[in-house]
Amino acid sequence: MALAQINWFKYSSPQAFYPLAGRMIPWFATIAALLIGVGLYIGFFVAPTDFQQGQSYRIIFVHVPAAWMSMFLYVVMAIWAGLGLGLNARPSFMMAQAIAPTGALFTFLALFTGAMWGKPTWGAWWVWDARLTSELILLFLYAGVMLLRTSIDDPRRADRASAVFALVGVVNVPIIYFSVRWWNTLHQGASVSMTAAPKMAATMLTAMLVMTLGFWMYSIAVTLARMRCVILERERRSSWGMHHSHREAVEVH
């Protein structure tokens, strides 16, 4: 127990994490750029044209990985939030804070590409299909987490309140998803099941997986960069923080 705590604080202390993150960001960013480039290449040039939908279906190489990432990142954020509440560890809260905007971005990307795909396919920018509706609700949940944090001035309370909401949300996400699907089948509305292509060609699957991996690496790089900002912002009062923050250093009196 004691040993675990020592290790925890050693690796998670902002002072140790800050330079480590700085060294890691270029690597993750490079890998992300390579993977996304390869994924887009396979998706847009190698994968075969769909005989029903033509070229427009190719947006799924962005849409589906983005949708996957948006849900995955919400769960990761909730895990960090739960760790923060359980261990009373500030770095975990910072991590949850750093992940949220990226998750929201992917949710928005999934919605946007869904709409772009819907127009040529269904003739409408928006159809109330189960996946798109769930993504919209997920975007509301991300907005809730971020807005709750910014509305509370005391950083400790902001951390913990938004962590509780993230956890409440993660319990609700499966219920919401289930209820929306249920609602969708009851009303027999338009269904945009993009992954239910009869036989997904191996190249299509490869492109999607490569894109997902690329998005994942991108998420790590961006989260680390945002984490560095969060650390600087929060530690600006400490001597360490002042040393690293040039703008703040001017104000030292």
Binding site: L148, S151, R157, A161, V164, F165, V180, W183, L186
Partner: protein, 227 residues
Amino acid sequence: MSQPGIFAALNEIIRRDLLLVLRRRSDVLTTVLFFIMVASLFPLGVGPEPAVLRTIAPGVLWVAALLSCLLSLGRLFTADYVDGVLEQMLLIPQPLSVLVIGKVAAHWLISGLPVVLLSPLLGLQFGLSGEALGVLTLSLLLGTPTLSFIGAIGAALTLGVRGSSVLIALLVLPLFIPVLIFGAGAVTSSASGIGAGAHLSLLGAGLLLALALAPWATATSLRIALE
């Protein structure tokens, strides 16, 4: 912490909140009038076509119930927070979640139950059949306590936060969606002859889940808010 102690505290908190409402009856009236007004706006906006009204009635009445619950959530903890009573409640030698259950029960009696009782009347205005009216009332009876439980989490999280009345809507409404879907779905499917059994069971399951988890989350949020 003895069993009778828990029930005595639960009883005391519900009686206190009801007594406070008796002294200030306008609070209940506002919620109920709001519910009636929102529901009455739709025929004015959509037009008096009976077939259309009958189709949208379950959704409209459920959304109106949702909004009137939301409207009354702001009062759930705020008054007690401002005058310091909530701080004393945190020092009661009983688990805090028991207290939360008492507050939520009182909130439902004050704002949820009147809506349930009024819903058949409003359903008649929309031309719902007798069976659909019964299902509507039953679905609200099962669903509105869940709304109060979920809403309590939002109310506790936004306690004393600036702009809390708008923020609480943003936090709580997405969490209300499953209740809305199953509640309005129960009425729709009974009207279309599928039967409302599955929907009502899911509403019941939702209530049990909310009863199990929401008091804990609310208690945690209250402690965070009062630190």
